[in-house]
């Protein structure tokens, strides 16, 4: 009798708990949605002082995301132990997963699907877009230029990075030298574009204010409009910018790897009378080979996706178009969604093996 009453009370309590929890579980997300869309609309449409606007927006962005987690967690903490343990992990992972699904996972599938449709995404054309990649002049040029970027850009970054790392290791001002070489990595490609556009600047007449032309004139040559001459070799002048920016990346990693070469190994080789160059090629290079490979692949991925430099320097004119810029052009200027998506997928396919390789390497070395 007593037990059954207890059970009944417990059931009633559980029921009221359940309805109370349900109430909060619905109210809190709804309140969140209303609050944040209200702030969004107010901020978007208000004509207040820009500084105040910026401050409010930042405050909302940063505070809002915390508020969402905190309020939803407050609801989950009300649940029974069992349910809390079941639900809470999804509260932690959920936002990340939802965001990723919306912004990356589903779009990738949609883009893949679009790559089989025609220019206006209405008719199924099978592999016609993929065939066009290898026949359409514009697209072939883009592919060829990307190849040039990878071939020259990546190679130069690796060789120079390694050379500078070795030199820095033996010099008397290692830290400063490394900082100087690494510095360009911090700035944007847009700013770098302005810097190098000025270096390549050509004006008719005797006085050249662009550094490269001034040097050429001083050496007795003719000034040139570098980024538009001798196609397709003008691409090399754009690639130089990549080299200037990315060599620092290669150098820093190589430098760390070089420090890991055991001193006694080098000492033993020196005892045996091996020269520095022989030591470098026979001992150091094999020892840091995995590092070289992973840096190479990373730079290749970076190079495949190059976009900003080309946009700023030439806008893709003079046969300097690459896959990423051609993608942009197909979508936003020619409105050819079929070609655009196909180029994006080609980029994805090109990048996959390289990154898989990289992640494996990283895993072997125990993460970052």
């Amino acid at each position: 009798m007593i037990t059954s009453t207890a059970t009944a009370t417990a059931t009633a309590k559980a029921k009221s708990n359940f309805s109370r929890n349900l109430f909060w579980s619905i109210l809190v997300p709804v309140l969140n949605a209303i609050l944040h869309s209200a702030i969004f609309i107010v901020l978007r449409d208000s004509e207040i002082n820009p500084i105040l606007h910026a401050a409010l927006a930042i405050l909302w962005g940063v505070g809002g995301i915390y508020l969402i987690y905190w309020s939803l967690n407050w609801v989950v903490e009300k649940y029974s132990d069992l349910w809390r343990r079941r639900i809470q992990p999804y509260l932690f992972v959920g936002p990340a997963f939802l965001l990723l699904s919306w912004l990356l996972l589903i779009p990738t599938i949609r883009t893949l699907y679009m790559s089989f449709l025609d220019a206006s995404s209405t008719k199924f054309v099978g592999l016609a877009n993929y065939a066009a990649i290898f026949t359409n002049r514009l697209l072939v040029t883009a592919l060829r230029n990307n190849l040039l970027w990878v071939l020259f850009g990546a190679t130069a970054c690796i060789v120079l990075g390694l050379l500078i790392a070795v030199l820095a290791d033996r010099s008397s001002f290692e830290r400063i030298a490394k900082a100087i070489i690494f510095l360009p990595m911090a700035i944007s490609f847009v700013a770098a574009g302005v810097i190098w556009k000025f270096i390549y600047y050509y004006q008719p007449g005797d006085e050249q204010v662009g550094l490269l032309n001034a040097v050429v004139v001083a050496l007795g040559g003719e000034p040139q409009a570098w980024t538009s001459m001798m196609q397709p070799w003008n691409n090399l002048f754009l690639i130089v910018i990549l080299i200037w920016m990315q060599t620092g990346f290669a150098m820093v990693i190589f430098s760390a790897a070089l420090k890991g070469v055991p001193e006694d190994m080098l000492e033993a080789a020196r005892m045996d009378g091996a020269g520095e160059i022989k030591i470098f090629f026979r001992i150091i290079i094999p020892f840091i080979m995995t590092t070289i490979l992973s840096v190479t692949t990373t730079i290749i991925v970076f190079t495949l996706k190059i976009f900003d430099v080309v946009m700023i320097m030439t806008g893709g004119q003079y046969d300097t178009e690459v896959v990423a810029t051609q993608f942009y052009r197909q979508f936003f200027m020619y409105r050819n969604f079929g070609y655009g998506s196909t180029l994006a997928i080609v980029l994805l396919i090109a990048v996959i093996p390289v990154i898989v390789f990289n992640l494996r390497q990283m895993r072997k070395q125990g993460g970052f």
Partner: protein, 364 residues
Amino acid sequence: MRRRPKRKGSKTIVNIILAFICFIWLVPTIGLFVSSFRPATEILKTGWWSVFPHKENVTKDQIQLPKDTDLRQPIEVNGTTYTDDELRSGVKAPDGSVLIWENRRGRTINVQQSGWKMNTSFTTENYKGVLTGKQYQITDTDGSVKTKKGSGLSRAFLNTLTVSIPATIIPILIATFAAYAFAWLRFPLRKTMFVIVIMLLVVPLQVAMIPVLKDYTALGLNGTFLGVWIAHAGFGLPLATYFMYSYISQLPKDLFESAFMDGASNFTIFTRLILPLAVPSIASISIFQFLWVWNDYLVSLVFIGNQPGVQVLSMKIADMVGTRGNDWHLLTAAAFVSMLMPLAVFFGLQKYFVRGLLGGSVKG
């Protein structure tokens, strides 16, 4: 571990080669910096390197030849004869000075003496010009004073800040929550979800861009700060999650057990224990994400657009490159303004900066 220098001589050679490379690496940035302070009138007349001491021929005197001098015959000046071609490119006279035509038709010759010179006219007008959005006065190339509309870069600077700060904190908070759950909580589908996150590391932005843009247009998120925060958050999440996971999963297990014993909830453990412990990792990945967003051009180009209320620095400068391609005094100043933040981060937080950039190198 310092390597023992083998020979004194070889070390000197190494130092010289390295110094030379460093010099080449620095020159582009120095050129930009110097140019951004030079007046518009100078910047297209002389190279920026002329601000450093250099030898230059300075006109000391002029010689007026008879108007009827035949230019096809050898020309006699001060007792020596020269050809017309020589005088055109400048020729050394016996006393060491250089003779060059000032006005060939008027038959005047400049006598130039080589001497040390520095171009030291600097100005902050360029910065005033790019930073304000209001009218400002500028001395133009021909010396006349003109009123021009400023580029409004300070507004773009503010916008970039408004984009970058939340677009850094939002994804990293979300990623750290997820990383904690992946590392220390057990739940169905954990493995599958984690594998998907890792797979998404490889997806280049371009692949996702267009479908997202369509959704944005439908939702009215295009050209809003919220829209670009979400975009950057989504595109930065796989890397941030992976980065944070590799750190949080390495934390000792006892840490959590004792906290659980004390009755702390997961949320408390996360905010009171994990976040403070993960500060170095969070700093590294935050710096990477912050600079990525700050320097980004593609995402802003597609999702923000050109309205002055939301336009960011990179867009603004790209715009100026297109419309004011030869106004180098403005372009260099604008580019330098955009570099201020990255340079400050670079010099202020170098340790985290390098680590973040290396970790971020796999970003899709």
